[in-house]
């Protein structure tokens, strides 16, 4: 059962990612991008990290995909034009993929079956965020505030 789900999710995710990378129309690519994140969240659920999967759906499909669609609608002057495609990127990507697969295939110590684990409860994540990870949490808060202000300043109309 789990392996059938794994194959289905893999096909969905990789097909959506390829569509997002190669489709000519920007809007179709943005929607494929959202579908790809559904697939990645499904991977997280399958691996037992439910909270991360939920956060992924909220953040990416709820916020980032909508943001990308907004940006496409705001900058749609050259939507109709056919975009040039740089084929040297394909060669680089295939070379990197071959190198990664070679490294994975030659690593002997990768364990084969997952151990039985207790599911990570949200309460535990909250406790860790408030104790051991409180310093990174504050840094992320400052970073998000700075990114918000920076994004606002970047898109503000310049008053001569």
């Amino acid at each position: 059962m789990s392996s059938i789900a794994f194959v289905a999710i893999t096909i969905l995710t990789l097909a959506a990612a390829l569509a997002a990378a190669t489709l000519q129309k920007l809007m179709h690519a943005a929607l494929s991008f959202a579908v790809m994140f559904v697939g990645i969240s499904a991977f997280f659920f399958l691996l037992g990290a439910e909270f991360v999967g939920l956060v992924q759906i909220f953040v990416y499909i709820g916020a980032v995909a909508v943001l990308i669609v907004f940006t496409i609608l705001l900058t749609r002057d050259d939507v109709g034009k056919v975009q040039s495609f740089n084929w040297s990127g394909v060669i680089v990507a295939i070379a990197v993929f071959a190198g990664l697969v070679w490294a994975i295939a030659n690593t002997k110590s990768l364990p084969l079956t997952p151990p039985l684990i207790e599911p990570v409860r949200v309460q535990r994540i909250g406790e860790l965020l408030m104790t051991n990870y409180v310093w990174p949490l504050q840094c992320v808060g400052v970073l998000l505030t700075a990114a918000l202000i920076g994004a606002l300043i970047l898109v503000m109309e310049e008053k001569t």
């Binding site: 789990s2 990612a17 990290a49 040297s88 990507a93 295939i94 990197v96 970073l143 970047l154």
Partner: protein, 102 residues
């Protein structure tokens, strides 16, 4: 479902993102490719956490949560830059942004 297959899937996802970032000339496609690569890295974090012997703290889960937050901040600033560049040049094609070229 073994760790090796999961790592190959995430490597494939990373390379598709690399392909989108390198070969498309539209700024939004480059951002989409970068987000894809970050998602592949997150998948690796979760996979290694799931297949390793369980430590006292779910470190992989915490790192993935922080990585998602940082990726969201990066996407917001990147898309704001796309809009700002579009206002100046009336284009989002990165090949036309060559004013600093010597």
């Amino acid at each position: 479902m073994t760790l090796s297959i999961l790592l190959v899937v995430s490597a494939a996802l990373f390379c598709i993102g690399l392909l989108a970032a390198l070969s498309r000339r539209h700024a939004i496609f480059i951002l989409i490719g970068i987000e894809m690569m970050l998602a592949a890295a997150n998948l690796n974090f979760i996979a290694f956490w799931r297949f390793a012997p369980q430590p006292a703290q779910p470190t992989g889960v915490m790192v993935a949560i922080f990585a998602i937050a940082i990726a969201a901040a990066e996407a917001a600033v990147g898309l704001a830059m796309v809009i700002a560049v579009y206002r100046h040049f009336r284009s989002t094609n990165v090949d036309q942004l060559d004013r600093l070229k010597g």
